[in-house]
């Protein structure tokens, strides 16, 4: 038999001024199952809470209804109150008679009647409430960071500094990412290598950080607190533990015609290589697509010159399985392919380059040793045209991206400024649609490019670039002057839009993390939870969540680390008990629920059931992992046999509320 207590709060005059609280208490006191109904000026006050606690004990209440402010305000408070009195905290319902009654209605009679109905609905629901116990699941105190660019490195360092173990999985042979390829960084013009490489070394030397380079995530199982991740360690054909990084092999290898990926193919290197001088780990690897030994079995020069015997042509990929409490996606970005932008002659003339290629052409460790020479004839370009928004803000042209890539305005200002500073005899033109410089010291930086360095900014776009007689004839528009300038340039630099690294899509599937239409990871809340994925235990760092510059990436990396540390510092995770629960007797294993679950919380198990004819049969039935389920209820409606229900918001409970309101 139910013994329900109803407590009507006055909230000073907030409720009592419009709602006749005494009448509400009196009327609700007559509802079946209600043994106590009373009103009090402030239920949330210490004495109000004491009153509820005492009533639960004295009246041996089985359920509590509080008619007060919104549950979003004090549900947590009253749950604790109820629990202190020894009653399950989920045997409490709140009727929202302030925000949704006394504050929005003026007529006292109407408001009182509505408060009574809301109270009845809460009583009807609480009658059907079941005690719920929030489950706990253990937390593995190790984090996985996927991607070893500046985002991944920063996240790993911050987590490791808090005392937790971190693995960085990086698909390339070295960590460092795109930032390692940059020359200078805006708006302060520090050299990228000077600020990045010490961090790479810190990561390598940190006792809590384990770098798995040249590796990829292959499978992810488990859930928040205990993910099981399979990692493929790709064969380097070099024993990582033996190689000292002396580099002798990379000088002696006879295969010299390998396009150098670190320099974006602007020069060549050998088939065995260390990606760049400050690579971490500084270990050579063999590119099997070019190595003569691996392709034909004849050569072996590197093996002969290696003094420590690190070369191993027989090395195979290996799989490792590890457990993690939290996973951080830091897969970064890349510039889009400009193959389809034929009007800019990219790919038709070597002197049309992307901005990232220009970084290499200006970098002291790049193919030209830091002297700006154009690729075709290695001469100094005297006239340089920059084109902004190549592939950015392209709504439906089938070639570009609809979003602003965010970083191009600033790096183009940087490039223009650096070129004008180093080579004052060079004329620099920038075609732009808008100059977007919201950031600390950003607009000042851009204005310096214009005012101090004399960069010509032209409002308009470029329509066609025609390579002719060693020049690039750039035909653009100058919308402010109403002209169609034609500039004979020596070098054209295209600010290519950036897109998420292509590995992100398959990773998102493995992580059951959601993505937007552009393949950027979706955050749990665009404003309030920007570094968490909607999937519990998966966090986002850097440009994989959206275009970002370095300061923003580092800030987000730190924020993601803080969230990971918060998770890993707990021994157990308390789960939301209002989760989906299948009635296995009714489930027919049709998989409808699994298909709508955004979290991958539903799996299937074959279970034995006793049939009416006393035989047993093996049936496939749904299983909900309560640690993963977030309680949205999508599956409950999708289930064709009505086997799936949601604890705390069950079909019966909601129907009872409906009935009470419509009565």
């Amino acid at each position: 038999m139910q013994r329900i207590g109803v407590f009507v709060c006055h909230c000073g005059t907030n409720i009592a001024a419009t709602v006749d609280v005494a009448q509400v208490a009196e009327t609700l006191g007559k509802e079946p199952g209600v043994v106590l109904a009373t009103d009090y000026p402030y239920m949330c006050s210490q004495s109000g809470q004491d009153m509820i606690e005492n009533a639960i004990r004295e009246q041996k209440l089985t359920g509590v209804v509080i008619c007060s402010c919104s549950p979003r305000m004090h549900e947590a408070t009253f749950r604790k109150t109820v629990a202190r009195a020894g009653l399950n905290p989920y045997l409490l319902e709140i009727a929202n008679v302030r925000e949704q009654c006394s504050w929005v209605h003026k007529d006292r009679e109407e408001a009182t009647q509505k408060a009574i109905i809301l109270g009845r609905a809460a009583i009807a629901k609480v009658t059907l409430n079941a005690p719920l116990v929030a489950g706990e699941s253990p937390v593995v105190k190790r984090a996985l960071v996927i991607g070893g660019g500046i985002a991944g490195i920063q996240t790993a360092l911050d987590i490791a500094d808090a005392g937790f173990e971190v693995d960085i999985v990086e698909k390339e042979a070295t960590i460092g990412g795109k930032m390692a390829q940059l020359d200078k960084t805006f708006p302060t013009l520090d050299c990228a290598a000077c600020i990045l490489t010490p961090k790479m070394v810190d990561a390598a030397q940190h006792e809590k950080i384990n770098i798995l380079s040249y590796s990829e995530v292959e499978a992810v199982g488990g859930f928040v607190g205990s993910f099981r991740v399979k990692i493929r360690r790709k064969a380097r054909y070099v024993d990582e533990t033996k190689c000292t990084g002396c580099g002798l092999c990379t000088e002696k290898c006879p295969q010299k015609a390998v396009p150098n990926p670190f320099n974006l193919g602007l020069d060549t290197r050998r088939a065995i290589a260390i990606p760049f001088a400050q690579a971490v780990p500084k270990v050579a690897y063999i590119d099997p697509n070019y190595c003569t030994m691996l392709k034909t079995g004849k050569c072996g020069v590197c093996s002969k010159v290696c003094t420590v015997g690190a070369i191993d042509y027989k090395q195979q990929d290996t799989l490792e399985e590890r457990e993690y409490g939290a996973i951080v996606a830091a897969t970064g970005y890349r510039p889009i392919s400009l193959e389809k932008y034929g009007e800019y002659a990219y790919g038709q003339s070597p002197d049309v380059v992307t901005s990232l290629e220009l970084e290499r052409l200006m970098n002291a460790a790049g193919p030209t040793g830091g002297t700006l020479l154009r690729p075709s004839d290695r001469t100094h370009p005297k006239t340089i045209v920059f084109v902004q928004c190549v592939g950015s803000r392209c709504e439906e042209d089938g070639r570009g991206k609809p979003y602003c890539s965010k970083i191009c305005c600033m790096y183009t200002a940087k490039h223009a400024m650096l070129i004008r500073e180093k080579y004052p005899d060079t004329e620099v033109y920038v075609f732009y649609i808008d100059v977007r410089t919201p950031g600390k010291n950003f607009d000042e930086f851009y204005r310096r490019a214009v005012e101090e360095y004399g960069v010509h900014y032209i409002t308009g776009q470029v329509g066609k670039i025609v390579p002719e007689n060693g020049k690039l004839l750039v035909q653009g528009s100058d919308l402010l002057a109403g002209m169609q300038p034609k500039i004979a340039a020596d070098l054209v630099v295209l600010a290519a839009a950036i897109e998420p690294d292509p590995s992100a899509r398959s990773l998102a599937t493995l992580l059951t993390a959601s993505m937007d239409t552009n393949d950027f990871f979706t955050e749990a809340h665009p404003k309030l939870r920007p570094v968490e994925s909607p999937t519990a235990g998966v966090f986002l760092s850097g440009a994989c969540q959206g275009p970002k510059d370095i300061p923003e990436t580092v800030a987000q990396a730190g924020a993601a680390a803080a969230k990971v540390i918060g998770l890993l510092s707990r021994d157990h995770i308390v789960c939301n008990p209002c989760v989906a629960t299948p009635n296995e007797q009714m489930c027919n294993g049709c998989s409808s629920c699994e298909k709508v679950c955004p979290y991958g919380a539903i799996t299937y198990a074959d279970k034995e059931f006793r049939m009416p004819d006393r035989t047993t049969a093996l049936r496939r039935v749904a299983q909900v992992n309560p640690a993963v389920c977030q309680g949205c209820g999508a599956c409950t409606v999708a289930c064709p046999s009505g086997a799936m229900d949601l604890l705390g918001f069950s079909n019966k409970q909601i129907m009872a509320e409906v009935d009470a309101i419509c009565r």
Binding site: N96, V104, H525, G633, T636
Partner: protein, 144 residues
């Protein structure tokens, strides 16, 4: 529902916990009025709304039922409101088929910041249901 001898529409509003319920709270915080006919039921997400709940409400004498959820793309659970939208579209066709005015049900996206919109929507919906009059068609007389 009869109040002092005059008919007053009974309206059930299902509001998702994260956006619309919070939006309704904001309506109160801003003291924006809407008719007391509207009674809100809190659900975790608009996708928790089984269309049967709506039929149940009509069967029990509700004159209008409204579902409020997060704006498309803003769902706390990422995709819940898309499911809700599809299910409601199907329900609309079914109500058409049953001969229930489809104006008796409505889906609105109300964010946690849209207190004013919540009030405007409810005012409009109550006005609309008042014009439509009492819902007799689906009333389940066994429940009386």
């Amino acid at each position: 529902m009869q109040v002092n001898g005059a008919w007053q529409p009974t309206i059930v509003a299902f509001c998702c916990n994260w956006c619309s319920y919070a939006g309704a709270d904001l309506t109160g915080t801003n003291r924006l009025a809407y008719p007391a006919n509207v009674k809100i039921i809190r659900i975790p997400c608009s996708c928790r709304l089984n269309p049967l709940f709506i039929l149940r409400a009509f069967g029990r004498g509700a004159d209008g039922v409204i579902l409020c959820g997060c704006h498309p793309g803003d769902c706390h659970y990422t995709t819940g409101n898309y499911y809700a939208r599809r299910r409601m579209t199907l329900l609309f066709s079914m109500l058409d088929f049953l001969g229930i005015e489809r104006e008796r049900t409505r889906v609105e996206w109300v964010s946690a910041a849209e207190g004013a919109k919540f009030a405007a929507v409810m005012n409009d919906f109550v006005r609309q249901i008042t014009v439509l009059g009492e819902n007799k068609r689906l009333e389940d007389f066994r429940c009386k």
